[in-house]
């Protein structure tokens, strides 16, 4: 599986309150949530994001609240992948559970700039910066998490493994 898109670039500690502010959490409709994705940090994001685009951020992306609405809003907005130097742990597991591809790569983060065209190969963790002609390596998932991702998220994984009918 591959993704290719234009990069939206953010800094350290992007918290789930700016990814999707609590004032919009009175619904769980993904389409409704996606309308306000990133609005408290980047008002232009939803106007400019195209299907397949990629978010690149520094350390501790997704810190704060456990709201799964955050990765859900990002995924529904059309983002194909989030690359960060590190992820906050609840955001990390939420992303795996709902099937939003994420990759940790400090090397990629150090070199990618806003607007770069980037391609990601999820099977190998290889990240290619088409604009700059560079390539970087993302950290591969442990086999257990890869199984969840391959199953299509935690729900199909659990249905197949723990709740067989």
């Amino acid at each position: 599986m591959k993704a290719k898109g234009k990069v939206f670039r953010y800094g350290d500690n992007v918290d789930t309150d700016v990814i999707i502010p609590a004032r919009y959490l009175n619904t769980s409709d993904p389409m409704e949530l996606a309308k306000y994705c990133m609005c408290d940090i980047d008002q232009d994001f939803v106007k400019q994001v195209q299907e397949g685009d990629i978010i690149v951020a520094d350390a501790n992306f997704g810190c704060g609240s456990s709201r799964e609405h955050a990765p859900l809003a990002i995924k529904t907005a059309g983002v194909s992948c989030v690359i960060a130097a590190s992820f906050a742990r609840i955001f990390y597991r939420n992303s795996i559970n709902i099937g939003l591809p994420i990759l940790e790569s400090p090397e990629a983060v150090a070199n990618i700039e806003a607007g770069d065209e980037v391609e990601v190969d999820f099977d190998t963790g290889a990240i290619t910066n088409v604009t700059k002609g560079q390539s970087y390596q993302g950290q591969a998932f442990p086999p257990f998490m890869q199984e969840i991702i391959s199953a299509g998220g935690l729900v199909p994984y659990i249905n197949e493994n723990l709740l067989e009918k």
Partner: protein, 420 residues
Amino acid sequence: MGMTMTQKILAAHAGCDSVKAGDLIMADLDMVLGNDITAPVAIDVFKKLNTESVFDKDKVALVPDHFAPNKDIKAAEQCKKMRLFAHDKDVTNYFEVGEMGVEHALLPEKGLVVAGDAVIGADSHTCTYGALGAFSTGVGSTDMAVAMATGKAWFKVPSALKFNLSGAFRKGVSGKDLILHIIGMIGVDGALYKSMEFTGEGIANLTIDDRFTIANMAIEAGGKNGIFPVDAVTEEYLKAHSDRPYKVYTADADADYDEVYEINLADIKPTVAFPHLPENTKTVDEITEPITIDQVVIGSCTNGRFSDFKKAADIMRGKKVAKGVRVLIIPATQKIYLDCMEAGYLREFVEAGATVSAPTCGPCLGGHMGILAAGERCVSTTNRNFVGRMGHVDSEVYLASPEVAAASALLGRIASVDEL
């Protein structure tokens, strides 16, 4: 190699003799929690799972606390969805408005979490119960749904940071100052993916409420959980609140820690986290220019317990809130509300010019009941001060203890009790 306290609890719940940091395990759970924001998403996910019933109707807790009492029609629909699910699945621990409270104050008070438990909650501050010697951590709605169906969750076994506490707090200093000091020291990702294990002779000088406050904010350092050893203080609390048997786990003497921090509680000063991160801490005596404020919030899962209001009432009694400052007092549960009423605190707060609200998370996350306008500043006993957390993106939140919040309410600027 020995195990940390957290690793021992996880090993026991995964049916393993031992685990080590980095192991991926499937653990049995003693309690699964959700609220009116996260449970509706979990309920949608639950419907996709191959089951009709929850794994154990006594081990699921559903608490409408974030946007309840319902703040608008959409919030009312979400609360209704959770209420109907609780009824349909015969969930024992559903708490309606009138008996509910802020979830992380409510569950320990109702005796639903005891030492040795493994708990997940679809709320990041689920780490609060580490105060009782339980493993508890926040997760998202999909994990909650799967846990409601199976009673299980997957975990990566965490490594740990050890905080070895000695001494006792000076007057006017409490658990909030300590945890803000620690977050300021290690940063908002200083404990990322790790346990924060608190030990040392200083633990005996921490009240159970101090411990709830400290464990509650482990997530603000990125921690998976915060946990305290079980001692006489814990056992007194457990016996007063729960009939369930509890199990005491202790870290092995040769357990491995990524870092060990030595902290003398007597060195901790009144501390405030400046916008817009909990790590932006200063001690109040480091503030040189007056920081005027518009609002004070005393409440939340961090500092909304009886002892927090006692501290505030002892400071505000017979005095007046500074002109132009709005002070919101939010007891975290109905029991705390009644205890404050019987102690006379609610009257004293109202006479000082504060307003008292029903239990709710409301203002902490900018939900309702105390939203900030552009340019406004709030001193709050809550846990987060991110951009726009309590309202407008150009508003500011300063995190502090109930003592600092009460003193600031009277002076109209950020202040410690010493300045009164």
